[in-house]
């Protein structure tokens, strides 16, 4: 059994998997890892199936102590074992201290060999604190929490990690139901990530000219690009609501959502319309 105790944590460190599907009709958000490709990369570094739960870390780093021998890997942050910088899939012995620095981009992922035990709600252990779903107790990880997996061992299955950029990231989009309200094509513009972005949505600084009108609330999904009255787009992300009343001018390709999630506040991106 892998077993790690949290000694120090970040304000956002929470268990995530691919998310909840089939419960939108109850207003239940999808949730799940913001960067699914990096979640998969972390799992492959410890030999887990792609969909096993991982710890998603944002903002600050964290520190853990091995209570049992464990096999771990992190993607998106520098890690140190007992103060020594290491890379790849790593074995920990009892008493080893694992330090994970603040994420290089926005989200980093810690995988532990074996299946992490966590609370399952609606088919997923993804943490959604607002409703108390998933995670250890329906909440983010706290100091003193113990992460346990059903396997002490692991092996590196694949050590490739998809690249992430911080400047001029190109995000592919398709046209949405209210695309025709636009008075200009967004492709030539450069947008910056706004500081208020979070797991519900990425807000972009930069305007798209549009004949704004409110629509009757209708379904939205992660990737939906909403354009509120101030003409500044919001791209909905993992924890977004299931319905919304702003025009849906487009949708980000699912494959590009991870790339988008990793663009830091103040950094830029471009939208590329693909028809």
């Amino acid at each position: 059994m892998g077993k790690l105790k949290l000694i120090k944590t970040s304000p956002w460190a929470a268990i995530q998997d691919f998310g909840r599907f089939g419960y939108r009709r109850f207003g239940i958000p999808q949730s799940g890892a913001m960067d699914r490709e990096w979640m998969i990369a972390a799992n492959r570094l410890v030999g887990n199936p792609d969909d096993f739960p991982v710890v998603e870390i944002a903002m600050m780093g964290m520190k853990l102590e091995a209570l049992e021998s464990s096999f771990i890997a992190a993607v998106g942050a520098t890690i140190k074992i007992n103060g020594e910088k290491r890379i790849g899939g790593l074995s920990l012995s009892i008493g080893d201290v694992l330090q994970i620095d603040a994420p290089d981009h926005v989200y980093a992922y810690l995988a532990i060999g074996g299946r992490l035990s966590a609370k399952e709600d609606f088919g997923s252990v993804s943490t959604y604190p607002r409703a108390g779903f998933g995670g250890l107790n329906g909440d983010v990880l706290k100091v003193g929490d113990v992460l346990e997996s059903d396997n002490a061992n692991g092996r590196v299955k694949d050590n490739s990690i998809p690249e992430r950029n911080n400047q001029d990231t190109v995000i592919r989009i398709m046209k949405g139901p209210e695309w025709d309200l636009l008075k200009e094509i967004p492709d030539s513009k450069r947008f910056e990530i706004d500081a208020s972005s979070n797991r519900m949505g990425v807000r972009l600084n930069g305007k798209i000219d549009c004949d704004y009108k409110e629509i009757a609330s209708s379904a939205v999904v992660p990737g939906t690009i909403q354009l509120p009255a101030n003409n500044q787009p919001i791209i909905l992300m993992s924890d977004c609501q299931t319905t919304g009343g702003y025009p849906r001018i487009g949708k980000v390709f699912d494959k590009d959502l991870g790339k988008l999630a990793q663009v830091k506040v103040g950094c830029s991106l471009r939208l590329k319309t693909v028809s």
């Binding site: 599907f21 089939g22 419960y23 939108r24 009709r25 109850f26 207003g27 239940i28 958000p29 709600d121 609606f122 607002r130 409703a131 108390g132 779903f133 139901p177 009757a216 609330s217 209708s218 379904a219 609501q241 299931t242 319905t243």
Partner: protein, 202 residues
């Protein structure tokens, strides 16, 4: 799919029900809203069109038995009873009487998991949203915002006027059927005292 703004919501609910029945395990999820139905499936648009076109037209959906679910409500715990009464120019008792006469219908679910948006509010009881939304409102709060009404399924922030509190669990994640009131179903309230509320077990 967009249904046009003239389509009544009953039709939306009925069509959603038909789609659920036709697609069965090919349906991953469905989100009916005011004028649209979002269908989540791995079928292509063409396959979907063929399947739906071959569907028999159901005139009545089986769940529409006109059953009205009765929910307990405690008005003494309504944080904004005063405000709503003043706005409606009614005494507390008159306000409560009017509210108890109403038959409400779940239109769709959104905002937070299990939050019910409903119609059926007596227009004299409509009341503008609070200027300063509260940081937290208890689960079971029965709210009014303009002429919309709804039930908070979870403790959450909110700016709706709270007329009363129901101890019924409208949303229970531990139940196989988490919603007590399905979309399209009707409900009304019966009054309970604060003491009954406190001793309520459901």
């Amino acid at each position: 799919m967009e249904c046009g703004s003239t389509i009544p919501i009953e039709k939306i609910h009925q069509s959603s029900h038909t789609i659920v029945n036709i697609l069965r395990d090919k349906l991953e999820d469905i989100v009916p809203a005011y004028h649209s139905i979002a269908v989540f499936t791995s079928l292509t648009i063409d396959q979907l069109t063929v399947l739906l076109a071959s569907a028999p037209i159901e005139e009545k959906k089986p769940s529409d038995s006109n059953d009205i679910i009765k929910l307990p409500i405690c008005y003494e715990l309504g944080l904004d009873l005063d405000r709503i009464a003043k706005h409606a120019n009614l005494s507390h008792e008159k306000l409560i009487e009017r509210h108890l006469e109403g038959v409400y219908r779940s239109l769709f679910i959104g905002f937070t998991p299990g939050f019910i948006y409903a119609d059926g509010l007596d227009e004299n009881l409509s009341c503008p949203r609070l200027e300063n939304p509260r940081k937290t409102i208890p689960a079971g709060s029965v709210g009014i915002a303009g002429n919309q009404t709804g039930i908070y399924s979870l403790a959450s922030p909110g700016g709706w006027n709270i007329i009363g509190l129901t101890p019924a669990k409208v949303f229970d994640p531990n139940e196989p059927k988490p919603m007590l009131i399905d979309v399209g179903m009707k409900y009304r309230f019966y009054r309970i005292a604060k003491k009954e509320f406190e001793s309520w077990e459901s």
